[in-house]
Assembly symmetry: C2
Homo-oligomer: 191 residues x 2
Protein backbone atom coordinates (compact mmCIF):
# COMPACT_ATOMS: atom_id res chain seq x y z
CA UNK A 1 0.00 0.00 0.00
CA UNK A 2 2.32 2.68 1.32
CA UNK A 3 2.20 5.49 -1.20
CA UNK A 4 5.64 6.95 -0.95
CA UNK A 5 7.22 10.35 -0.66
CA UNK A 6 4.20 12.49 -0.06
CA UNK A 7 5.33 14.37 3.01
CA UNK A 8 7.95 16.67 4.37
CA UNK A 9 8.35 18.60 7.59
CA UNK A 10 7.08 21.84 6.08
CA UNK A 11 3.89 20.26 4.81
CA UNK A 12 3.26 18.82 8.24
CA UNK A 13 3.79 22.16 9.95
CA UNK A 14 1.43 23.92 7.58
CA UNK A 15 -1.26 21.34 8.16
CA UNK A 16 -0.71 21.55 11.91
CA UNK A 17 -0.91 25.33 11.85
CA UNK A 18 -4.16 25.22 9.95
CA UNK A 19 -5.56 22.66 12.35
CA UNK A 20 -4.41 24.71 15.32
CA UNK A 21 -6.24 27.73 14.02
CA UNK A 22 -9.39 25.67 13.56
CA UNK A 23 -9.48 23.58 16.70
CA UNK A 24 -7.28 25.48 19.10
CA UNK A 25 -3.63 25.11 19.84
CA UNK A 26 -4.24 22.79 22.77
CA UNK A 27 -6.45 20.43 20.87
CA UNK A 28 -4.26 19.29 18.02
CA UNK A 29 -2.72 15.85 18.04
CA UNK A 30 -0.40 13.92 15.78
CA UNK A 31 -3.37 11.70 15.11
CA UNK A 32 -5.43 14.54 13.71
CA UNK A 33 -2.56 16.04 11.78
CA UNK A 34 -1.86 12.65 10.26
CA UNK A 35 -5.54 12.21 9.42
CA UNK A 36 -5.66 15.56 7.71
CA UNK A 37 -2.67 14.52 5.62
CA UNK A 38 -4.07 11.09 4.84
CA UNK A 39 -1.38 9.10 6.65
CA UNK A 40 -1.05 7.22 9.92
CA UNK A 41 0.40 9.04 12.88
CA UNK A 42 3.59 6.97 13.21
CA UNK A 43 4.51 8.03 9.69
CA UNK A 44 5.02 11.55 10.94
CA UNK A 45 8.00 10.34 12.92
CA UNK A 46 9.93 10.04 9.68
CA UNK A 47 9.92 13.83 9.52
CA UNK A 48 9.91 14.99 13.12
CA UNK A 49 10.88 13.67 16.52
CA UNK A 50 7.63 13.77 18.39
CA UNK A 51 5.02 16.23 19.41
CA UNK A 52 7.43 18.75 20.86
CA UNK A 53 9.02 19.30 17.49
CA UNK A 54 5.56 19.94 16.16
CA UNK A 55 5.17 22.71 18.72
CA UNK A 56 8.53 24.15 17.77
CA UNK A 57 7.61 24.05 14.12
CA UNK A 58 4.31 25.80 14.65
CA UNK A 59 6.02 28.43 16.77
CA UNK A 60 8.64 29.09 14.11
CA UNK A 61 5.95 29.42 11.50
CA UNK A 62 4.01 31.80 13.70
CA UNK A 63 7.04 33.99 14.40
CA UNK A 64 8.14 34.19 10.83
CA UNK A 65 4.68 35.24 9.69
CA UNK A 66 4.50 37.83 12.45
CA UNK A 67 7.93 39.11 11.51
CA UNK A 68 6.81 39.44 7.96
CA UNK A 69 3.67 41.32 8.88
CA UNK A 70 5.46 43.88 10.99
CA UNK A 71 8.30 44.29 8.55
CA UNK A 72 5.78 45.21 5.89
CA UNK A 73 4.17 47.63 8.29
CA UNK A 74 7.47 49.41 8.88
CA UNK A 75 8.69 49.95 5.33
CA UNK A 76 8.48 53.50 4.14
CA UNK A 77 7.78 54.83 7.60
CA UNK A 78 10.00 56.18 10.31
CA UNK A 79 10.03 56.90 14.00
CA UNK A 80 6.61 57.33 15.59
CA UNK A 81 4.78 56.54 12.41
CA UNK A 82 6.73 53.31 11.98
CA UNK A 83 6.16 52.31 15.59
CA UNK A 84 2.45 52.97 15.29
CA UNK A 85 2.33 50.98 12.06
CA UNK A 86 4.09 48.08 13.72
CA UNK A 87 1.72 48.21 16.67
CA UNK A 88 -1.27 48.10 14.37
CA UNK A 89 0.12 45.23 12.33
CA UNK A 90 1.07 43.35 15.48
CA UNK A 91 -2.45 43.45 16.85
CA UNK A 92 -3.96 42.69 13.47
CA UNK A 93 -1.84 39.58 13.18
CA UNK A 94 -2.76 38.44 16.66
CA UNK A 95 -6.45 38.94 15.98
CA UNK A 96 -6.36 37.11 12.68
CA UNK A 97 -4.26 34.23 13.95
CA UNK A 98 -5.09 33.90 17.63
CA UNK A 99 -3.97 30.31 18.01
CA UNK A 100 -0.76 30.79 16.09
CA UNK A 101 -0.11 33.89 18.14
CA UNK A 102 -0.38 31.90 21.34
CA UNK A 103 2.14 29.42 20.00
CA UNK A 104 4.80 32.11 19.95
CA UNK A 105 4.82 32.38 23.71
CA UNK A 106 5.67 28.85 24.54
CA UNK A 107 8.87 28.47 22.66
CA UNK A 108 11.98 30.33 23.67
CA UNK A 109 12.35 27.52 26.17
CA UNK A 110 13.35 25.23 23.39
CA UNK A 111 17.10 25.54 23.20
CA UNK A 112 17.39 25.47 19.45
CA UNK A 113 19.62 28.11 17.90
CA UNK A 114 17.40 28.27 14.89
CA UNK A 115 14.43 28.97 17.11
CA UNK A 116 16.27 31.54 19.23
CA UNK A 117 17.22 33.23 16.02
CA UNK A 118 13.62 33.40 14.84
CA UNK A 119 12.56 34.74 18.22
CA UNK A 120 14.79 37.75 17.84
CA UNK A 121 13.51 38.65 14.42
CA UNK A 122 10.71 40.86 15.67
CA UNK A 123 13.02 42.71 18.00
CA UNK A 124 15.54 43.32 15.26
CA UNK A 125 12.99 45.23 13.24
CA UNK A 126 12.25 47.39 16.25
CA UNK A 127 15.95 48.13 16.68
CA UNK A 128 16.10 49.34 13.10
CA UNK A 129 13.13 51.59 13.59
CA UNK A 130 14.71 53.02 16.72
CA UNK A 131 17.91 54.04 14.97
CA UNK A 132 16.79 57.53 13.92
CA UNK A 133 16.20 58.36 17.58
CA UNK A 134 19.92 57.97 18.25
CA UNK A 135 19.41 56.36 21.59
CA UNK A 136 22.23 54.52 23.28
CA UNK A 137 22.18 50.78 22.82
CA UNK A 138 21.01 50.18 26.37
CA UNK A 139 18.30 52.80 26.19
CA UNK A 140 17.12 51.31 22.94
CA UNK A 141 16.92 47.88 24.49
CA UNK A 142 14.94 49.18 27.43
CA UNK A 143 12.44 50.89 25.21
CA UNK A 144 12.08 48.01 22.81
CA UNK A 145 11.48 45.55 25.62
CA UNK A 146 8.78 47.77 27.06
CA UNK A 147 7.19 48.50 23.73
CA UNK A 148 7.02 44.89 22.74
CA UNK A 149 5.75 43.94 26.20
CA UNK A 150 2.94 46.45 25.85
CA UNK A 151 1.90 45.13 22.45
CA UNK A 152 2.07 41.55 23.55
CA UNK A 153 0.34 42.15 26.85
CA UNK A 154 -2.49 44.04 25.26
CA UNK A 155 -3.24 41.61 22.49
CA UNK A 156 -2.99 38.60 24.71
CA UNK A 157 -5.22 40.01 27.43
CA UNK A 158 -7.65 41.08 24.74
CA UNK A 159 -7.70 37.65 23.14
CA UNK A 160 -8.06 35.99 26.52
CA UNK A 161 -11.17 38.08 27.08
CA UNK A 162 -10.04 40.35 29.88
CA UNK A 163 -11.41 43.44 28.22
CA UNK A 164 -14.90 42.13 27.72
CA UNK A 165 -16.46 43.35 30.94
CA UNK A 166 -16.38 47.07 30.19
CA UNK A 167 -17.84 48.96 27.32
CA UNK A 168 -15.04 51.37 26.41
CA UNK A 169 -13.68 51.01 22.89
CA UNK A 170 -10.81 48.59 22.81
CA UNK A 171 -9.17 50.17 19.77
CA UNK A 172 -9.04 53.44 21.61
CA UNK A 173 -7.39 51.78 24.61
CA UNK A 174 -4.73 50.32 22.37
CA UNK A 175 -4.06 53.55 20.55
CA UNK A 176 -3.72 55.40 23.81
CA UNK A 177 -1.27 52.86 25.18
CA UNK A 178 0.91 52.96 22.09
CA UNK A 179 0.73 56.75 22.01
CA UNK A 180 1.85 57.03 25.58
CA UNK A 181 4.94 54.99 24.84
CA UNK A 182 5.78 56.75 21.59
CA UNK A 183 5.24 60.15 23.19
CA UNK A 184 7.56 59.26 26.00
CA UNK A 185 10.22 58.73 23.37
CA UNK A 186 9.84 61.96 21.50
CA UNK A 187 9.50 63.91 24.72
CA UNK A 188 12.90 62.70 25.73
CA UNK A 189 14.44 63.71 22.45
CA UNK A 190 13.07 67.20 22.71
CA UNK A 191 14.26 67.78 26.25
Amino acid sequence: MGAKRGLDAQTIMNAAAELAEQKGLENISLLQVADKLGVKSPSLYNHLNGVQELSIGIAKLAVSRLENAIRCAAVGRSKGEALMGIATAYRKYAKENPELYKAILRFPDYKDDNVQEAGHAVVRILYQVMEPYHYSEKETIHFVRGFRAALHGFVSLEEAGFFRGTSADVNESYDQLVDRLISSLTDRRES
Copy 2:
Protein backbone atom coordinates in the same frame (compact mmCIF):
# COMPACT_ATOMS: atom_id res chain seq x y z
CA MET B 1 -11.26 -0.38 51.74
CA GLY B 2 -12.61 3.02 50.71
CA ALA B 3 -11.48 5.35 53.46
CA LYS B 4 -14.18 7.96 53.43
CA ARG B 5 -14.42 11.72 53.45
CA GLY B 6 -10.83 12.77 53.08
CA LEU B 7 -11.16 15.19 50.21
CA ASP B 8 -12.82 18.34 49.07
CA ALA B 9 -12.44 20.56 46.04
CA GLN B 10 -10.22 23.06 47.83
CA THR B 11 -7.78 20.39 48.96
CA ILE B 12 -7.56 19.11 45.41
CA MET B 13 -6.90 22.58 44.00
CA ASN B 14 -4.18 23.24 46.50
CA ALA B 15 -2.47 19.97 45.70
CA ALA B 16 -2.81 20.67 41.99
CA ALA B 17 -1.38 24.15 42.37
CA GLU B 18 1.60 22.81 44.25
CA LEU B 19 2.14 20.14 41.64
CA ALA B 20 1.81 22.69 38.84
CA GLU B 21 4.51 24.85 40.38
CA GLN B 22 6.79 21.83 40.67
CA LYS B 23 6.27 20.07 37.36
CA GLY B 24 4.88 22.76 35.14
CA LEU B 25 1.32 23.68 34.38
CA GLU B 26 1.20 21.52 31.26
CA ASN B 27 2.45 18.43 32.96
CA ILE B 28 -0.05 17.86 35.70
CA SER B 29 -2.64 15.13 35.39
CA LEU B 30 -5.53 13.92 37.47
CA LEU B 31 -3.49 10.78 37.96
CA GLN B 32 -0.65 12.65 39.60
CA VAL B 33 -2.92 14.85 41.65
CA ALA B 34 -4.76 11.77 42.86
CA ASP B 35 -1.46 10.06 43.67
CA LYS B 36 -0.29 13.03 45.66
CA LEU B 37 -3.52 12.87 47.65
CA GLY B 38 -3.38 9.11 48.12
CA VAL B 39 -6.52 8.31 46.13
CA LYS B 40 -7.36 6.93 42.70
CA SER B 41 -8.01 9.38 39.92
CA PRO B 42 -11.70 8.53 39.38
CA SER B 43 -12.32 9.52 43.00
CA LEU B 44 -11.59 13.10 42.08
CA TYR B 45 -14.74 13.14 40.00
CA ASN B 46 -16.74 13.23 43.21
CA HIS B 47 -15.48 16.76 43.70
CA LEU B 48 -14.98 18.16 40.22
CA ASN B 49 -16.22 17.51 36.71
CA GLY B 50 -13.08 16.69 34.86
CA VAL B 51 -9.76 18.20 34.07
CA GLN B 52 -11.17 21.50 32.85
CA GLU B 53 -12.58 22.25 36.26
CA LEU B 54 -9.15 21.60 37.64
CA SER B 55 -7.79 24.29 35.33
CA ILE B 56 -10.51 26.66 36.43
CA GLY B 57 -9.76 25.96 40.05
CA ILE B 58 -6.06 26.56 39.65
CA ALA B 59 -6.75 29.76 37.78
CA LYS B 60 -9.07 31.05 40.49
CA LEU B 61 -6.47 30.26 43.10
CA ALA B 62 -3.81 32.03 41.09
CA VAL B 63 -5.93 35.15 40.58
CA SER B 64 -6.98 35.41 44.17
CA ARG B 65 -3.39 35.19 45.35
CA LEU B 66 -2.32 37.78 42.80
CA GLU B 67 -5.14 40.05 43.86
CA ASN B 68 -4.05 39.72 47.43
CA ALA B 69 -0.45 40.53 46.63
CA ILE B 70 -1.26 43.70 44.72
CA ARG B 71 -3.83 44.83 47.23
CA CYS B 72 -1.20 44.66 49.92
CA ALA B 73 1.16 46.61 47.70
CA ALA B 74 -1.37 49.40 47.29
CA VAL B 75 -2.38 50.02 50.89
CA GLY B 76 -1.06 53.23 52.35
CA ARG B 77 0.09 54.51 48.97
CA SER B 78 -1.53 56.72 46.40
CA LYS B 79 -1.28 57.66 42.75
CA GLY B 80 2.12 57.08 41.18
CA GLU B 81 3.54 55.50 44.27
CA ALA B 82 0.64 53.07 44.47
CA LEU B 83 0.89 52.20 40.79
CA MET B 84 4.61 51.58 41.10
CA GLY B 85 4.02 49.43 44.16
CA ILE B 86 1.44 47.41 42.31
CA ALA B 87 3.76 46.98 39.35
CA THR B 88 6.52 45.71 41.60
CA ALA B 89 4.24 43.32 43.43
CA TYR B 90 2.77 42.09 40.17
CA ARG B 91 6.15 41.14 38.76
CA LYS B 92 7.27 39.67 42.05
CA TYR B 93 4.25 37.42 42.13
CA ALA B 94 4.80 36.29 38.56
CA LYS B 95 8.44 35.51 39.25
CA GLU B 96 7.72 33.57 42.41
CA ASN B 97 4.80 31.63 40.93
CA PRO B 98 5.52 31.33 37.25
CA GLU B 99 3.31 28.34 36.61
CA LEU B 100 0.40 29.70 38.57
CA TYR B 101 0.84 32.97 36.78
CA LYS B 102 0.50 31.27 33.42
CA ALA B 103 -2.72 29.65 34.60
CA ILE B 104 -4.36 33.06 34.88
CA LEU B 105 -4.23 33.61 31.14
CA ARG B 106 -6.16 30.61 30.05
CA PHE B 107 -9.33 31.17 31.93
CA PRO B 108 -11.64 34.04 31.15
CA ASP B 109 -12.91 31.74 28.42
CA TYR B 110 -14.67 29.69 30.99
CA LYS B 111 -18.10 31.25 31.25
CA ASP B 112 -18.44 30.95 34.98
CA ASP B 113 -19.69 34.05 36.78
CA ASN B 114 -17.57 33.22 39.75
CA VAL B 115 -14.50 33.10 37.55
CA GLN B 116 -15.36 36.29 35.69
CA GLU B 117 -15.76 37.92 39.05
CA ALA B 118 -12.32 36.80 40.18
CA GLY B 119 -10.83 37.98 36.92
CA HIS B 120 -11.98 41.51 37.56
CA ALA B 121 -10.50 41.67 41.02
CA VAL B 122 -7.11 42.93 39.90
CA VAL B 123 -8.67 45.60 37.75
CA ARG B 124 -10.89 46.78 40.56
CA ILE B 125 -7.89 47.59 42.69
CA LEU B 126 -6.45 49.63 39.84
CA TYR B 127 -9.71 51.57 39.52
CA GLN B 128 -9.49 52.48 43.18
CA VAL B 129 -5.94 53.66 42.83
CA MET B 130 -6.93 55.78 39.83
CA GLU B 131 -9.63 57.64 41.70
CA PRO B 132 -7.44 60.49 42.98
CA TYR B 133 -6.58 61.35 39.39
CA HIS B 134 -10.22 62.24 38.76
CA TYR B 135 -10.21 60.80 35.28
CA SER B 136 -13.46 60.11 33.52
CA GLU B 137 -14.65 56.54 33.68
CA LYS B 138 -13.69 55.88 30.08
CA GLU B 139 -10.28 57.45 30.42
CA THR B 140 -9.69 55.42 33.53
CA ILE B 141 -10.60 52.23 31.73
CA HIS B 142 -8.26 53.03 28.87
CA PHE B 143 -5.38 53.66 31.18
CA VAL B 144 -6.00 50.65 33.35
CA ARG B 145 -6.20 48.35 30.37
CA GLY B 146 -2.92 49.65 29.05
CA PHE B 147 -1.21 49.57 32.40
CA ARG B 148 -2.24 46.06 33.10
CA ALA B 149 -1.31 45.00 29.59
CA ALA B 150 2.16 46.41 30.08
CA LEU B 151 2.66 44.58 33.36
CA HIS B 152 1.35 41.35 31.99
CA GLY B 153 3.23 41.60 28.74
CA PHE B 154 6.50 42.33 30.42
CA VAL B 155 6.38 39.58 33.00
CA SER B 156 5.18 37.01 30.55
CA LEU B 157 7.79 37.79 27.92
CA GLU B 158 10.39 37.80 30.65
CA GLU B 159 9.30 34.44 31.99
CA ALA B 160 9.14 33.01 28.49
CA GLY B 161 12.78 33.99 28.05
CA PHE B 162 12.49 36.71 25.44
CA PHE B 163 14.77 39.06 27.32
CA ARG B 164 17.64 36.64 27.69
CA GLY B 165 19.56 37.53 24.55
CA THR B 166 20.67 41.01 25.58
CA SER B 167 22.63 42.10 28.56
CA ALA B 168 20.75 45.22 29.67
CA ASP B 169 19.32 45.07 33.17
CA VAL B 170 15.80 43.71 33.10
CA ASN B 171 14.73 45.49 36.28
CA GLU B 172 15.71 48.76 34.69
CA SER B 173 13.65 47.97 31.59
CA TYR B 174 10.62 47.29 33.75
CA ASP B 175 11.02 50.42 35.82
CA GLN B 176 11.34 52.52 32.70
CA LEU B 177 8.23 51.03 31.19
CA VAL B 178 6.16 51.59 34.30
CA ASP B 179 7.58 55.10 34.66
CA ARG B 180 6.65 56.01 31.13
CA LEU B 181 3.06 55.04 31.76
CA ILE B 182 2.79 56.72 35.13
CA SER B 183 4.42 59.87 33.80
CA SER B 184 1.99 60.00 30.95
CA LEU B 185 -0.73 60.16 33.55
CA THR B 186 0.61 62.94 35.68
CA ASP B 187 1.60 64.96 32.63
CA ARG B 188 -2.00 64.94 31.56
CA ARG B 189 -3.23 66.14 34.91
CA GLU B 190 -0.81 69.04 34.94
CA SER B 191 -1.61 70.25 31.45
